[in-house]
Symmetry: D2
Subunit: 133 residues, 4 copies
């Protein structure tokens, strides 16, 4: 049980996005940041780590961007729309790139399969946010 | 639906905490970081912001510590137990301090009431993790 | 004395940017993230905080984006160029927006004047990086 | 040239630490976070990455803790001293642990040697802050 939707509803500022779409996007970003961090860690513990270094790099990049995006989107009183939009676009790119790499290893490693799912869900949630900006 | 538990189960390294307790703690840290970020933002949008500056400061501190703790706990292959334990202890302190401040404003501001709940849940989840370390 | 340039030179991967330009950009991002965090904190301590809430919001956004950008640029083995470029573009936007707001308050508040300088330096350093991508 | 000291001096709140010591500590934390991020990335690009996985894990942990500590210390209007102290103690632990690991690889890898220096400098700067709290 998260408090994301309740926090967005409790804000005194008028909503700039559909609250359901925004809440899902923030939660997807946090979930993806966690999954990417855990996937990098799991890759490091694999005997075949030498084949997973690109996956680890993209995981770390994606985790940082998703984390920053989740917090930027949690600040609805802010009005620097250009910066927020550019950040969400960076998040779409990072998720798509990390998902594609994780999908290469999905049959071999369950953590890459689950992480790819989290990345695709976050990519989709960010894309849904962009047109309504 | 988050991927936290699935990611932890998919890791090749043997678990160092009960997976249910660990998964709940990571998710509580992310939820609390989001709530604190949103609460700071909502406080900034209140006409009485001058009475909420301490709340905003503690929100920002708590968000940073919870975020770092969530990611440290997501790396179960790491073995710097002393640093992780100190970080979880810092998280307990930050959550307790922020919750106490938010509780002062809970009757007046719904965002402070909801944020206090998220902080108390995170404080409790971190405390449950510490003895099993 | 920082270790940024020495770390970049010590990496086994071939450089993807001019190392001097890259090093300056990473350091400018970290410096700007610090300045924005401190400026938000200083604004909260001003009696006229009610007139500074937009400044605080943009400070917090800018700090998060600069921080994520500094770490993304520190990972030169990564090759998700599209995501890095989008993130640097978000950083340019966030710095420009925060600088413009801080400049409104520069005569009244030294912290806003200094923060605006840090934001403009970071905006410029990020712009220098983009064409060489 | 950073703006850290100028930002701290420009704050309206009275200083809670010696400003020179505080400024050096914040800058050391940011420098160490950068060095650890770059060291993890450089380790991933080494052919012998399989021997460096513990180093990478400790690098990532140390980067996260140093980053959170730098921002917590940049907020001098905040007064949750217990949480800040616990966080600085976590930072000392993380830096000491990462430095010790990097020192094992310092003869073989220049990035580990430089990163160990950054970690030891940050550990020392954090220790200097603690007694004056």
């Amino acid at each position: 049980m998260t408090h994301t939707a309740a926090m967005l509803e409790a804000a005194p500022s008028s909503p700039r996005y559909d609250l359901g779409v925004l809440s899902r996007c923030i939660e997807s970003c946090l979930d993806c940041a966690q999954a990417c961090t855990a996937c990098a860690d799991a890759c490091l513990a694999e005997e075949t780590v030498g084949e997973l270094t690109r996956c680890i790099s993209l995981n770390l990049m994606c985790a940082d961007v998703c984390d920053a995006t989740a917090f930027a989107l949690s600040r609805q009183a802010t009005s620097d729309d250009a910066a927020v939009r550019a950040l969400v676009e960076a998040c779409v790119q990072a998720c798509a790139g990390c998902a594609a790499e994780c999908e290469h290893h999905a049959e071999m490693h369950a953590h890459c399969r689950v992480c790819a799912e989290a990345c695709r869900a976050c990519e989709q949630a960010c894309r849904e946010l962009l047109p309504s900006d």
